[in-house]
């Protein structure tokens, strides 16, 4: 279904058209759900959080003035909802350590992943993302999958620029480590 610009649906929703908001949900539900899932790592909870976030967005849509992208505004609500739930559940949110170890990635790993079938590679990356720390997978998802800029990620997460960069760097490194472990285990299982 070809969608129109977000602002069109927002204006219609502000006029009271609930169907317009329904289309807006359909347009962004995958993105919203994926971000919530990357943070919470639990499908049912992620769905609940994404639904709550959309409800909040609906009731607060009159306060959206269009100064930033709708997605940035929506992701901010989702991020806060998910982190709030994570905090209540675990009573802690992953701290950002400033030290970043040097990334040493073997060419064998890269070549091995590249040679996998697309479906296998997709499953492997998803497994890796599930095992990453919540804040690292959230930032990686926002940066690569949702294609948000570092400035937009800063706005969504309220992290500083350096914290976002650290999380991106460490997330990439840890993801490679996890992928290495997964592929090694699979190789061991095969032998």
């Amino acid at each position: 279904m070809p969608y129109q610009d977000d602002l069109f649906y927002i204006e219609e929703t502000k006029k009271g058209d609930l169907n317009a908001f329904g289309i807006l949900i359909q347009k962004h539900e995958k993105y919203a759900f994926t971000l919530a899932l990357r943070i919470l790592k639990h499908r049912e909870e992620a769905e609940e959080v994404a639904q709550d976030a959309f409800m909040k967005a609906y009731y607060g849509i009159h306060s959206f003035e269009g100064n930033s992208k709708f997605t940035t505004w929506l992701y901010k609500i989702i991020f806060n909802e998910a982190v709030g739930r994570q905090r209540r559940k675990k009573n802690k949110w992953d701290l950002i350590e400033n030290e970043v170890a040097e990334t040493i990635i073997s060419q064998d790993l890269l070549g091995g992943i590249e040679n996998l079938l697309a479906q296998e590679r997709k499953e492997l990356i998803q497994k890796g993302m599930e095992r990453l720390k919540s804040n690292e997978s959230a930032v990686l998802t926002l940066f690569y999958l949702e294609e948000q800029s570092i400035k937009e990620i800063q706005e969504i997460t309220t992290y500083s620029e350096s914290q976002v960069k650290i999380l991106l760097h460490r997330g990439r490194k840890n993801l490679f480590d996890i992928l290495q472990k997964i592929t090694n285990n699979e190789l061991i299982n095969l032998l």
């Binding site: 994926t34 769905e47 994404a50 959309f54 990356i125 690569y144």
Partner: protein, 134 residues
Amino acid sequence: MNREELNHQDQLGKWIKESAHDHPSINFSETIINTIASQQQQTIYQPVISPIGLRIITTCILSICIYVLFFLPSGESEGVWSLKNIKFPNIHFAEYLFFPPIPSSNIILNSSLLAFSILLFFSMLLWSRRINKA
């Protein structure tokens, strides 16, 4: 950041994009819309007296209070601050202890019949209007 690291990032970014978004349940958006619609349909009780009406009533009551307290001529007393000077009149309660004369039974009967016929007339009128509407 060296060239090799950039290449790794490009590859990782490509794979993450390739891994695509996760899908929520089929009725995800429907659930949200239904919840919002049901919340909007809930009965909202509004006050019988509007805010403007309340202000008017409050103003009236306040003005009456102010008039009674400060402007009502009260004999020797000159206001609320001179209450200690008020001299209460001597009331002889014996003067008020009387029973009003009881009207004759004819008057009671006539007035009852009149009230009953008025009520009957209005109830018939309302009933006929209801039948016409139906």
